[in-house]
Amino acid sequence: MRFAARRIVRFAVSLAVLLVASFAMIHLIPGDPVRASLGPAAPVELVEARRQALGLDRPVPEQFLGYVRGVLGGEFGTSFLTGERVGDVIAARLPVTLSLALLATAVALLVAVPLGMWIAIRTENGRRRGAEATFTSVTGLAVTVPEFLYAIALVSVFSIGLGWFPPAGRGGPESYVLPVAALAIGPAAMIARMCRLETLRELAAEYVRLARAKRLPAPRLYIRHVLPGTLTATLTVSGLLLTGLVTGSVIVEYVFAWPGLGQRIVEAIVQKDYPVAQGLILVYGALVLVVNLLVDLALGMLDPTSRIKET
């Protein structure tokens, strides 16, 4: 429990730093961010009005306090573009992005972990060299192919071509299949590769050798003795990969017209809609920290030794 408490404290500190960073983002823009968004010849009154709207005319510490107070109260400012409250945008779009990312994560893990383990067990010690080579090259390729290619290919084949799934939009369960698949393939390949390496490492461990000496049946051996060690290392990598799904979800949301955060954040950056960009980057960053926290806590439960290795 002490471990969990310490980890949560670290999370809170990171969150605070994230708040500072997202606040500072506007101030780090070289020159005047207001002028940058208005153009060099903007009349003074317009610049001043915009500056007031952003609250940039007050002293910095006061601005920061106002910002933090606002964030804690759910106020993230107002979009320059549409006049919507950024908080509303987040509330409406975050569940969409989350549902996509979480599902893709689950699918990737459920497919990749058993696959990686299975391949490792079958190709241990150089057995079935051909299978290993096939696995390595296929997954290697799968990792490199960008998400939008998967998305396009899936839509072309399974939606336009075969008509099995809807090509876009968020609706019933069948509309989740293609976007989740497009998002999950790359990470699944990565996790499978990682899992295979970890499983090989586990299989070479002395305690597995001893468990083999105990003549334990294969399923018990692999699930009880090999899997936990594999999982801990795989989880760590997966944690990073899952937060990397942020990237993928932006592109997938674009292709499949899902009303998630991804659409808006790209638009906001391109159109210099600073309140939205700031708010969404904050949300994404917080998501990352939360995922990492959960992964660490899960790891702490699974692998007691990692608790004492905690720095």
Partner: protein, 600 residues
């Protein structure tokens, strides 16, 4: 070299990309800019293999020309990110501790953030366009590099030569530059090669979303941005740049992988047939012996036979020591008996019997309960993730169909039996909470869950303190006596073997060279090797003014095995006759056999 096919492919792709980057614009630059309003938005045709864009420009030419900009941007991003990362990672080693911890913490936090997020953050600040995207991707690369540099620098900084330099008063920055950085250059470069592939993909993604390169400049990502809306109508216009990006990314990945493999020098298994073993007749099982091994051979592809024709027998209640230098094949012999020889090793024997039954014909249940194994490293033998009690209990659960509660009770009982205090508490703990000696006891207790007929202990005390060693040895003797099991005790330490065992089997270069009662070891050893081993053990009376007695030369590796006596090159008694392998023959006393022409 066969295995480096990926390396060749990777290297080839990268080389092709570099050539394209250099030669592309001069050759196709003009075609890439030529506007042809009559050929606007066409698909693939004989004239334009990849179609045309909104201005009628040939897309194939544009893809080829874009290589330079794409690669250049990726290179810059990697260089900037790598440089910043190395700086950040090296900083903690030169800063005072509080500042160092701050930097370390910051880097660790940053590493957690996905690249695109950092890139978007930077893009907001630096603005749209190639510059912002490059800075963004560099910002995404830097934390990973910093973390790697930190780790490497820390591991190097702990090295002796660095400590020596510090003691000599060399300043921290100087130590960093002269000692640490050169040693971490190699893994860093490998990492950066792969990072370059990732940078390429990241920049393409940024441009694809519209955040990166802006027209009229173009890179592969921007071409994808332009071509993507047309993908359902004329797929080739998007697939062209997509394939280019993918190939470049794959190339760098493969190259980085291959370089990493080469650096870690992972040996390839030599191919080839497994040599056939020369096995004599099995004969009748010996009713007296628990373990009966006759003519055991373990062979590996490539003609290697680390164990050749080993025969031994162990009676109930007897402790037989199997002794020899590292690489003599004793552990492999034990593994063969235990059925644990890894692929692609092949085990052949005239007889390999446990209590009269061939081990290969025994069921897992029988083996699981009648065979107990104890390995060298007790920490590694027990699964760190599982509780001790459970690891013992599962033997009973699996092989004896015992219900969980009963199995756990037996586990606790066995733990107490091996003199572990508070066995109920210990059973609920994880291995890392027990001391080394206790863990080894637990492993022994695991073997006692069933009714072991054979205990194989492979260097069980080597990793333990001297005082704990004694306790374990005593425990082994106790257990062997009470269960009337046969114990095969493997060690390189002839002194320990002499103390614990009833009989000693000496192995050299895969063969048994002598077999004798332990009592005769000190004075009655016949084989020159055995005698040399005995002589090399210092005792309280050894003359300390003279150098430690060792045996000149070294034992042959399995690749160097010959048919003759393997010890001959080092043997003071060697003659021409020793070119023929001497058989294991009875020596003067019963139970004493020697394989040597010259043994007296």
């Amino acid at each position: 070299m066969r295995r480096s096919l990926p390396a060749w492919i990777g290297g080839g792709l990268v080389a092709a990309m570099v050539i394209l980057a250099i030669a592309g614009p001069p050759i196709w630059g003009e075609a890439a800019e030529r506007v042809d309003p009559r050929a606007v938005l066409q698909g693939a045709s004989a004239e334009h293999w990849l179609g045309t864009d909104n201005l009628g420009r040939d897309l194939l030419a544009r893809v080829l020309v874009a290589a330079r900009f794409s690669l250049l941007l990726a290179l810059i991003a990697t260089a900037v990110g790598g440089g910043a990362g190395v700086l950040l990672g090296a900083l903690p080693s030169v800063l005072p501790r509080p500042a160092a911890r701050f930097v370390t913490g910051a880097v660790n936090t940053l590493v957690a953030f996905p690249g695109l997020l950092l890139a978007m953050f930077t893009a907001v600040i630096a603005g749209l366009g190639a510059r912002g995207a490059v800075l963004g991707v560099a910002a995404a690369i830097a934390p990973g590099v910093a973390r790697l540099t930190q780790t490497l620098a820390a591991s190097v900084a702990g090295a002796d030569y660095v400590a020596a330099a510090r003691m000599l008063g060399v300043s921290r920055p100087r130590v960093l530059v002269r000692h640490v950085l050169p040693n971490i250059a190699e893994p860093l470069i490998l990492y950066l090669t792969q990072a370059m592939g990732l940078a390429l993909l990241a920049l393409a993604s940024m441009s694809f979303l519209g955040l990166g390169v802006q027209p009229p400049d173009f890179d592969w990502g921007r071409l994808l941005f332009d071509g993507f809306p047309r993908i359902y109508v004329t797929p080739v216009v998007a697939l062209g740049p997509a394939v280019a990006v993918a190939l470049a990314g794959i190339g760098f990945n493969l190259l980085g992988d291959a370089l990493a493999q080469a650096a870690s020098r992972r040996g390839a298994h030599a191919g080839g047939a497994v040599p056939a073993a020369d096995v004599s007749e099995a004969g009748e099982p010996d009713p007296e012996a628990v373990l009966e091994v006759r003519d055991l051979t373990v062979a590996f592809p490539g003609g290697l036979t680390p164990v050749r024709g080993v025969s031994l027998a162990v009676a109930p209640g007897e402790i037989v020591g199997l002794v020899g230098e590292s690489g003599c094949g004793k552990s492999l012999t034990a593994a063969a008996v235990g059925g644990l020889v890894p692929y692609p090793g092949v085990v052949t024997a005239a007889a390999l019997r446990l209590c009269g039954t061939e081990i290969s014909e025994m069921s897992p249940k029988e083996l699981g309960t009648s065979l107990a194994m104890v390995f060298q490293d007790p920490m590694a033998s027990l699964n760190p993730a599982l509780r001790v009690g459970g690891q013992l209990a599962e033997v009973a659960i699996v092989h004896q169909n015992a219900p969980r509660a009963a199995a756990h009770r037996r586990a606790v009982d066995r733990l107490g039996h091996v003199h572990i205090p508070e066995p109920e508490r210990r059973a609920r703990q994880h291995p890392h909470e027990l001391s080394g000696g206790m863990r080894q006891r637990a492993v022994i207790a695991m073997g006692l869950m069933g009714a072991p007929r054979l205990i194989i202990a492979d260097e069980p005390t080597t990793a333990l303190d001297v005082t704990v060693q004694r306790q374990i040895l005593t425990l082994l003797r106790e257990v062997t006596a009470e269960t009337a099991a046969a114990t095969l005790f493997i060690s390189h330490d002839i002194a320990v073997v002499g103390e614990l065992c009833d009989r000693v089997v000496v192995m050299y270069a895969g063969r048994v060279v002598e077999e004798l009662p332990a009592a005769r070891l000190a004075e009655g050893a016949a084989h020159p090797y055995t005698r040399a081993l005995i002589a090399s053990v210092p005792d309280m009376d050894t003359d300390r003014t003279r150098p430690l007695a060792g045996i000149p030369g070294r034992p042959p590796t399995p690749a160097e095995f010959t048919d003759g006596c393997a010890f001959a090159p080092r043997c003071p008694l060697a003659t021409a006759k020793c070119a023929d392998h001497p058989p294991l023959a009875d020596h003067d006393a019963p139970g004493h056999r020697v394989a040597c022409w010259e043994a007296t």
